[in-house]
Each structure stands twice: as structure tokens, then as C-alpha cells.
């Protein structure tokens, strides 16, 4: 009994410590400065939603948010499709060079962005992609491919051979059997992979920091950093900006908790 009490206390403390900073930030975003000075845990007397309007309009968060969404969609969908194609090729066909191609694509798992960001900047400069969203999208598709290929190949390998062969007997070519048979069967894994790509892209900081100087192309994390620099003392406003970033993540987390935890614990190895 005492043991259980200790265990529950420990776990509840752990959860409170993990969640409290976000809760307190959300509360701060709805207060006035003087109100916040009186205490962080109290509920706001009168919710100051205009903090959000100010962050959204004057603070440019509408632009950062739109950029983040464009980049996330621009990375996640192509990266999922390309990983499906590479994973399928490596799982379905036996051909010379398949081992080499697989190893090559997996190298991305051990190469973090830090190891290549300096030349990547100059590659993007040569391509005229500095200060643009496409300059954030293409590298992040490449960075996602290793993990995607690994998981999609694994997933397609677990689908029994006769399922695939049945579709070929029905006269489907490999392209048709991919989209009509394999893709629907692999959907749970495809969902997990897509979620991982989304979180990584939404949270990416170093790449946009280095590649895009023009605030027009900032995504949320970089936008928040400069925002914090400019408004250091206006905590409610900074808190509103922070909430704009973490609310979509919390929403995702509530909806897809299991896939996210499974995927992130597996995908943690990725840079």
C-alpha cells in the first residue's frame, strides 16, 4: 500500500512537471502583464484573446503559420509517396544492387543535418533556393527518406507473398498492385511514417534558421525565436505565440497518441 502511494506520487509529480510549463504558458497567454505578475497559476479574470490577435497580425504569426503548413504539407506528402516507392522496390523485387541501394538510402539515419548543413546552404544558393520555401521542402524530403524507406520496406515485407501474387495473377502490373493492394494494406504504417515526418518538419529549426534570412519565409520556430528577441518583456504576447506552435502538436498528440509514441521511440535514432 505504501509502495503504491509512493509510486503514484512519483508518477503524478512526473506528469505535472512535464505538463505544467505548457499549461502555465497557455494561461499566461490570456492574461495582462500586471495580472501575470500576481501569479502564474491563477485563471485570467478576463481572457485577453487580443494577445493572439496581436501575435497573429502584428507579430506575423499568420505568415509563419502559413509557411509552416505549406512546408509541412510539401514535405510530408511527397516524402510519404517517395518512401512508399523506394520501400516497395526494395521489398518486392530481387535485383542486383538492391542491397547497395538500401544501404545508401539508410546512410541518412547516421548523418545529421549538422554534418551537411554548411555545403547544403551553398547547394541551395547555387539552385537559387535561399530565402524560399522550396529550399526548406526539398532537403527535408531527402532527410525523411531514410527512415521512411526503412519502415516502408519492413512493412511491405510483412505482407504475405500470396497476397501480392494473387493480384499479379489477376493481371495487375507492379504499379497497379502497389496502389490497389499494397498501399491499402500498408496504410497504418504509412500513417505513422507521415506523422513522424510532420513532427520533424514542424519542429525543424536549424535548417530554416540558416537558409532563410527574409522574415517572409520564416516558419514558426524561427519566427518565435525572433519574436522573443523583440518582445522580451511582453510575456503574454510571447506566450500567445508559443501556444500557436504547441496547440496543433497537442491536438495531434491527443488524436494519434499511440502511433506517435511508437513512431518516435523507433525513429529517435534519426538526426
Amino acid at each position: 500500500m505504501v509502495k503504491r502511494l509512493i509510486a503514484y506520487t512519483l508518477l503524478i509529480t512526473g506528469v505535472v512537471v512535464a505538463v505544467l510549463p505548457f499549461a502555465v504558458t497557455f494561461l499566461a497567454s490570456l492574461k495582462t502583464g500586471p495580472e501575470l505578475a500576481k501569479g502564474v497559476f491563477s485563471l485570467p479574470d478576463d481572457a485577453q484573446w487580443h494577445n493572439y490577435r496581436q501575435a497573429w497580425v502584428q507579430g506575423q504569426f499568420q505568415r509563419f503559420f502559413a509557411n509552416s503548413v505549406i512546408v509541412a504539407v510539401g514535405v510530408v506528402i511527397p516524402a510519404v509517396v517517395l518512401s512508399t516507392l523506394t520501400g516497395y522496390a526494395l521489398a518486392r523485387f530481387r535485383f542486383r544492387g538492391s542491397g547497395l541501394a538500401f544501404t545508401y538510402l539508410l546512410l541518412g539515419l547516421v548523418i545529421p543535418l549538422q554534418a551537411m548543413v554548411v555545403p547544403l546552404y551553398y547547394v541551395l544558393r547555387e539552385l537559387g533556393m535561399l530565402d524560399s520555401l522550396i529550399g526548406l521542402i526539398l532537403p527535408q524530403i531527402a532527410m525523411s527518406l531514410s527512415f521512411g524507406t526503412l519502415l516502408m520496406r519492413q512493412c511491405f515485407q510483412t505482407i504475405p507473398k500470396d497476397v501480392m501474387e494473387a493480384s499479379i495473377v489477376d493481371g495487375a502490373n507492379s504499379w497497379q498492385s502497389l496502389w490497389q493492394v499494397m498501399f491499402p494494406l500498408g496504410r497504418p504504417m504509412i500513417g505513422t511514417v507521415g506523422l513522424m515526418f510532420f513532427i520533424w518538419t514542424w519542429n525543424e529549426f536549424m535548417l530554416p534558421l540558416v537558409v532563410n534570412i527574409n522574415p517572409k519565409y520564416h516558419t514558426l520556430p524561427v519566427g518565435l525565436m525572433y519574436f522573443q528577441d523583440r518582445w522580451t518583456a511582453n510575456i503574454p504576447l510571447i506566450a500567445a505565440g508559443a501556444t500557436i506552435i504547441f496547440l496543433p502538436l497537442i491536438l495531434m498528440f491527443l488524436l494519434f497518441q499511440r502511433q506517435l509514441i511508437d513512431g518516435l521511440t523507433q525513429g529517435a535514432v534519426k538526426g
Partner: protein, 309 residues
């Protein structure tokens, strides 16, 4: 059905050879788009880092690049700034690696052994910080620990501590504070990995230990720790990688300061390459950073993981 059958039959004899050629090309057609984009934006820059690290280049126009062999490396290894950054990374290790592992394994063991209820909620709550961007974590903690309007020092002052530390701005406290933020961000992740591992340990092992009269601590060292060896290896090596690559949280909380008390390798690399226009030197630091990370994580995997083979 009939049409497909005849269709297949008709094409089978004359077109066979060309079909087989397409057949061997087929997987490459699926691989092609992925390989192209991977090569352009991962492989070429990676090789580029190594090449660039052997040059002296201001990053402006290509024809100013000068091949200088290993000079950048000798310069980095001899530089006080690089050594300071490297040592700071090492000093983050106890906070980023060991602390969250301990903070994860103890509650995970208790929750598993006592079969506590509400596991899903605990898991969700504890894991939350791990999905958050480092910038957000940095901004939120910079406020919480702000010496003037942060809640922590307000609380400490109300308890009668007239001059509490200024945490992230303090020469002695800045690095441990950044370390604690890193530990805070990781312990829930460690908890989740350990709990999943504990579920895989056969219950008979615990029963046998209990029959032998083992107490909680003996059970922990004789059954739990060996049973979790794989998970421990994974957690420690991932935490180590995060300690050696630390960037986002530090950039947004201290930006390396005060002075260069929290300067780390990744920050020094970015500042050298882009802040002071020494692309070659920055690339050399990137290579050193990658080598250190690779060696470190391989060492941990070797020590903790492979033995049970």
C-alpha cells in the same frame, strides 16, 4: 476474365525479351525519384562537408576557395574556443544522458511491478515534452527562469531568498540549467522506452527471484537491469547524441552565453561557418562533431548492448 487471359497469351511470345529488360529496370524506376532527391540534398552535401573542410573559403565566390589540407582540423583542435565548446558538450552528458535515464527507469519499474492503473495517461503526460520543438522549450523555460519576471525566482523570493541565482544568465548556473532543461525534455521518453521493455521481460523471472527471497532492490539489479539491457543501450545512445548535438534549446535560451559558458559544438559550427564567413573551418567542425557523436554512440552500444548477443 477471358479478355485478360487472351491478352496475356497474345503478348507472351513475341514481346518476351523486351519485357524482361523492362523487368530488370522496373525496381530502379521506383527508386529513381527517391535516389535523386536523396543524392542532391543529402549525399552531395555530406561529401561536400568533407571536401569543404579541407579548404579555406570565405563562402562568397567559388574561385576564392583554397585547398589547405588538414589545416582547419589542426586549427580547431588547437583552438581554445573549440575545446571550450567540446568540454561544455561533455558537461551536458550527465544531465542529458544519465539523469533522464534514472528519472525514467525508477517510475517505469514501479508502475510495471505494481501494475498501476491509468498507465496510458501517465505515458501521454510524460511523453508530451518530447514531441515539442526545442525552440518552444527554450522560449518557455527562458520565461519561467527569467530572473525579473519569471515565476521561479518570484517564488523563491517569496520564500525569503533575497537574491536567487539568475540561472541562464549566471556564469556558474547557466550550463547546469541548460542541462536540467534537457533532462526535463527527455525523461518521459526514457520512461516510455523502459516501460515497453519491462513488458517484454517474462514474469517467471520475477517470480523466481521472489521465490529466492529477493527484495525490491535485488530484483531490480538481478532481473530488471539485465532484462532492459537493450533499451538502456538505446536510451543512453540517443540521449548522448542529443547532448553532443545540442543546438535548438541553447540557441534560444543563452545563445552560448553568458560569455561562452554554454557554447557548444553545433553553435560554434554555425557561428564559424555563417557568422564569421569561414565555410571551410565550419565544415571541419561539422566533421569533428559527427565523428565525436558516432564514436560516442558506438561506444555506448558496444558497452551496453552487444554483450548479451
Amino acid at each position: 476474365m477471358e479478355t485478360t487471359a487472351t491478352g496475356v497469351e497474345r503478348s507472351s511470345t513475341p514481346v518476351r525479351s523486351s519485357r524482361r529488360r523492362i523487368g530488370s529496370l522496373e525496381p530502379w524506376l521506383y527508386l529513381l525519384p527517391g535516389l535523386l532527391i536523396f543524392t542532391a540534398f543529402m549525399a552531395i552535401p555530406t561529401v561536400g562537408t568533407i571536401i569543404l573542410s579541407l579548404t579555406d573559403w570565405n563562402g562568397i565566390s567559388w574561385n576564392t576557395a583554397l585547398f589547405i589540407g588538414l589545416d582547419n582540423y589542426t586549427r580547431a583542435l588547437g583552438s581554445g574556443q573549440f575545446r571550450n565548446a567540446f568540454i561544455n558538450n561533455l558537461q551536458l552528458i550527465p544531465f542529458f544522458v544519465l539523469l533522464p535515464a534514472v528519472m525514467g527507469i525508477i517510475p517505469a519499474t514501479m508502475a510495471h511491478q505494481l501494475a498501476l492503473r491509468g498507465g496510458r495517461w501517465f505515458q501521454a503526460g510524460l511523453f508530451l515534452p518530447y514531441i515539442m520543438p526545442g525552440v518552444l522549450i527554450g522560449v518557455v523555460w527562458a520565461w519561467i527562469l527569467n530572473p525579473i519576471f519569471g515565476p521561479v525566482n518570484r517564488l523563491l523570493k517569496s520564500f525569503g531568498w533575497a537574491k536567487p541565482p539568475v540561472w541562464l544568465g549566471d556564469f556558474t548556473w547557466a550550463l547546469p540549467t541548460v542541462g536540467m532543461i534537457g533532462a526535463w525534455a527527455a525523461y518521459g521518453f526514457c520512461y516510455v522506452v523502459f516501460l515497453a521493455g519491462l513488458k517484454k521481460i517474462p514474469t517467471e523471472q520475477y517470480e523466481a527471484a521472489r521465490l529466492d527471497g529477493a527484495g525490491f532492490w535485488q530484483e531490480f539489479t538481478a532481473v530488471t537491469l539485465p532484462g532492459l539491457r537493450g533499451e538502456i543501450a538505446v536510451v543512453l545512445s540517443i540521449n548522448l547524441i542529443n547532448a553532443l548535438r545540442a543546438f535548438d534549446v541553447i540557441k534560444t535560451t543563452t545563445d552560448g552565453g553568458p560569455g561562452s559558458e554554454t557554447q557548444v559544438m553545433a553553435l560554434y559550427m554555425i557561428n564559424s561557418a555563417f557568422g564569421s564567413n569561414q565555410a571551410g573551418y565550419g565544415a571541419a567542425i561539422a566533421v569533428l562533431l559527427s565523428v565525436v557523436t558516432l564514436v560516442g554512440s558506438m561506444l555506448i552500444l558496444r558497452l551496453a548492448g552487444d554483450r548479451d548477443g
